[in-house]
């Protein structure tokens, strides 16, 4: 758990970050979103003390992060930046082993951990361990960057626009992979982005920042249904808030139970992981009224009607 208390950074007269307080629960993803110059990156870098705060403090699992040298703190916190920042003169395996080596792990343990991470990120260790960063595609470099940040089994992972350099199709895949990784390793993630769609897609909670101040920090659906002020409403896109709300619920969560006698034999079958926004779009496109929600094996679990979906497009 990360507790941020009145964290402040002042550069001369300008307040880069102005008394921000927030709590990030263990095993969750908090996304900080804001325009450039909103102070979101400064806030992130004060968590691992790449930037020393002017005031306030950060507690990591109850312990003040100011109580040890910055470099030691940073070895316990994963860090991923835009454009990956891989060491061009070191192989993939050497890059991933950076922090474990700083922590003086045994070589066998480093090798095993490197292989485990490469496999988890769908990179065959036999093929990729000995390659240099310039021999990888953009998406692969990004994944190696994530593997390197996770190498020393940090409880917390900080990510600064990690997908900013990727093209849209690879970015979506990278976001899915991140969610998988987070579930698999149970890491607490703080991610900074300027892309509100990315924030809604990834964040258990989303923090909206502007001019150094934290405007609102809550679950995505609350940001849509009860924005704290007009600026948050504008940022979360008031014109399409109904669709945004639908995108936050999956078909599996919203499915109506199958009543006796229904076969679940609708022409349209959707997976449980599809968002209501996607299901509605598909129903409208096909001119159909209802869809069957099926599990991975195709067994029907429930159904969704246009009316049931529309009912969820309004604040409760």
């Amino acid at each position: 758990m990360i507790v941020i208390e009145n964290l402040t950074k002042r550069y001369g007269e300008t307040m880069a970050v102005d008394a921000v307080s927030m709590v990030i629960e263990r095993n969750s993803i908090a996304v900080i979103v804001g325009t450039s110059g909103s102070g979101k990156s400064t806030l992130l870098r004060m968590i691992n003390r790449l930037i020393e705060p002017t005031g306030g403090r950060v507690l990591l699992d109850g312990r003040d992060t100011g109580s040890e040298p910055g470099y030691q703190l940073r070895r316990r916190i994963g860090y991923v930046i835009q454009g990956h920042g891989l060491f061009p003169h070191r192989t993939v395996a050497e890059n991933i082993g950076t922090v474990p080596r700083l922590l003086a792990w045994e070589e066998d343990r480093i090798r095993a951990r490197t292989a485990q991470l490469l496999e988890a990120l769908q990179l065959d260790p036999a093929v990729y361990s000995g390659k240099y960063p310039h021999q990888l595609s953009g998406g692969q470099q990004q994944r190696v960057g994530v593997a390197r940040a996770l190498a020393a089994e940090p409880a917390v992972l900080l990510m600064d626009e990690p997908f900013g350099a990727l093209d849209p199709i690879i970015r979506e895949k990278a976001q899915d992979d991140l969610l998988d990784i987070q579930r698999k390793f149970g890491t607490t993630i703080v991610l900074v982005t300027h892309d509100i769609d990315e924030a809604f897609r990834l964040g258990d909670r989303v923090a909206v920042m502007s001019e150094g101040r934290l405007l609102q920090y809550d679950r995505p659906e609350v940001l849509v249904t009860r924005p704290a002020n007009p600026l948050v409403a504008r940022m979360t896109g008031s014109a399409e808030r109904a669709m945004r709300l639908l995108s936050l619920t999956t078909a599996g969560e919203a499915a109506l139970p199958l009543t006796a006698g229904e076969s679940g034999a609708d022409a349209i079958v959707v997976p449980t992981s599809a968002s209501l926004r996607e299901v509605l779009s598909e129903l409208l496109w096909r001119g159909s009224e209802c869809a069957t929600v099926a599990d991975a094996n195709g067994a029907p679990l429930g159904r969704l009607t246009v009316a049931a979906i529309l009912a969820r497009a309004r604040p409760a």
């Binding site: 470099y71 940073r74 920042g85 060491f87 240099y132 940040a149």
Partner: protein
């Protein structure tokens, strides 16, 4: 690119070349140069003693008919290869064969013209020999470039070249050639000069590296200081070497006169001390500038990632920034080393020692052979240093940024 079953039309020039062999342009130029050297200029000059003006002799005047014809025939074959062959190893072999024949001819000419046990007469290589050798040397260099050897191969080639030259000289093949006569007389002084030359160039380089690296790192960290430091070093660089030697003589002389300790460790107004100091000053700018440039090309994302992962500033500098900047820093060191090897020659003017002693001694006595005894090893030393450091830079720069 090439798809099976799909062929591009051959360009017209390629079809023509099948009928009429193309003449290699560089080969043609160098063949002309070599031929001019061989037939229009004297191959050797004969002097009754070391300072009398020489009497020019052509190859045919000195060697027996069969040897002259053999020599011409071999060089004609070399010319044929160089004019029409494209294969680089073949061209290199031809150039080397030409060099061996030319060298052998010089040795034979010197032996033929020198009466037995006569240490007075001098047979010097003439303008024709030097022109021929230059043409063949350029051919060899061109062939090696066309073969695109890796850094390791280039160092091996250099070692083979130096080894071959060293063995030939040790065997006494050229003992009757005037430069080697001059060497025989000055052998002890030559060893001292060689040692002094290498010590001065490497010592001043070493001291400059020790000062310049931290200075470069400092300039990189504190960009405000950069223009001031670099322009100060730039001003030093613009002072002509002889002037700088002169400027340093006065303060160092005064230092030696007033501080007994300075005099005791060998600091004097003339000699090695001002030479080493001047070389050191000249060495600063290239190394500092290249250190700054090398550090600048390290991506800020890489540095931020290193710090973000918990490397200390020192670890980031040593194992990331400096490693990535090293090829550029070494390029600066290469510039300095080659520059110093040349400048040490001038240092002989103020008693600094080194091969320059022979060059200026030779000029004073109007003895060209003595000048060459200083100049040739200086060139070989600078050339070897350049090849070695270039190979090292290329080896380290294999990983693209």
């Amino acid at each position: 690119m090439s798809t099976p079953g799909f062929s591009l039309p051959r360009p017209a020039s390629a079809q023509q070349s099948a009928a009429l062999p193309r003449v290699d342009r560089l080969g043609a130029l160098l063949t002309l140069l070599g031929a001019a050297g061989l037939f229009l200029l004297p191959f050797v000059t004969f002097k009754a003693n070391r300072i009398l003006p020489g009497d020019p002799r052509g190859l045919a005047q000195v060697l027996p008919v069969w040897a002259t014809c053999g020599c011409w025939a071999t060089l004609a074959a070399v010319a044929a290869v160089v004019l029409f062959a494209v294969n680089a190893p073949l061209r290199l072999a031809a150039a080397l064969a030409g060099i061996v024949v030319t060298g052998t001819a010089l040795a034979a000419a010197a032996n033929a013209l020198t009466p037995a046990h006569n240490l007075i007469v001098r047979v010097a290589a003439g303008a024709g020999f030097w022109l021929l050798l230059a043409a063949l040397g350029l051919l060899a260099a061109d062939a090696i470039t066309r073969m695109r050897p890796g850094p390791g191969t280039r160092v091996l080639l250099l070692a083979a070249f130096l080894g071959a030259v060293g063995l030939t000289l040790a065997q006494g093949t050229f003992d009757n050639v005037s430069v080697m006569r001059e060497y025989a007389v000055n052998a002890a002084a030559f060893a001292v000069a060689a040692r002094q030359h290498i010590l001065l160039s490497l010592g001043s380089l070493g001291a400059a590296v020790i000062v310049s690296l931290p200075l470069g790192i400092f300039c990189h960290r504190v960009p405000r200081l950069q223009p001031g430091v670099l322009s100060a070093l730039n001003i030093i660089q613009t002072i002509p070497s002889i002037a700088l030697f002169g400027i340093l003589m006065a303060p160092l002389g005064a230092l030696a006169a007033h501080v007994p300790l300075a005099a005791a460790v060998g600091i004097r107004g003339i000699g090695a001390a001002p030479a080493a100091l001047a070389l050191f000053l000249y060495s600063l700018l290239p190394i500092v500038a290249n250190t700054v440039a090398g550090l600048k090309r390290v991506s800020p994302a890489t540095v931020e990632a290193a710090l973000g992962m918990g490397m200390t500033r020192r670890q980031t500098l040593m194992s990331v920034e400096l490693v990535l900047a090293l090829p550029v820093v070494l390029t600066g060191i290469r510039i300095v080393l080659v520059q110093n090897i040349g400048l040490v020659t001038v240092a002989a003017l103020i008693g600094g020692g080194g091969f320059g002693t022979f060059v200026f001694g030779g000029i004073g006595q109007a003895a060209t052979d003595l000048v060459l005894l200083g100049a040739i090893p200086t060139v070989v030393l600078a050339f070897s240093a350049a090849v070695l450091l270039d190979a090292l830079v290329e080896r380290l720069d294999r990983v693209p940024q």
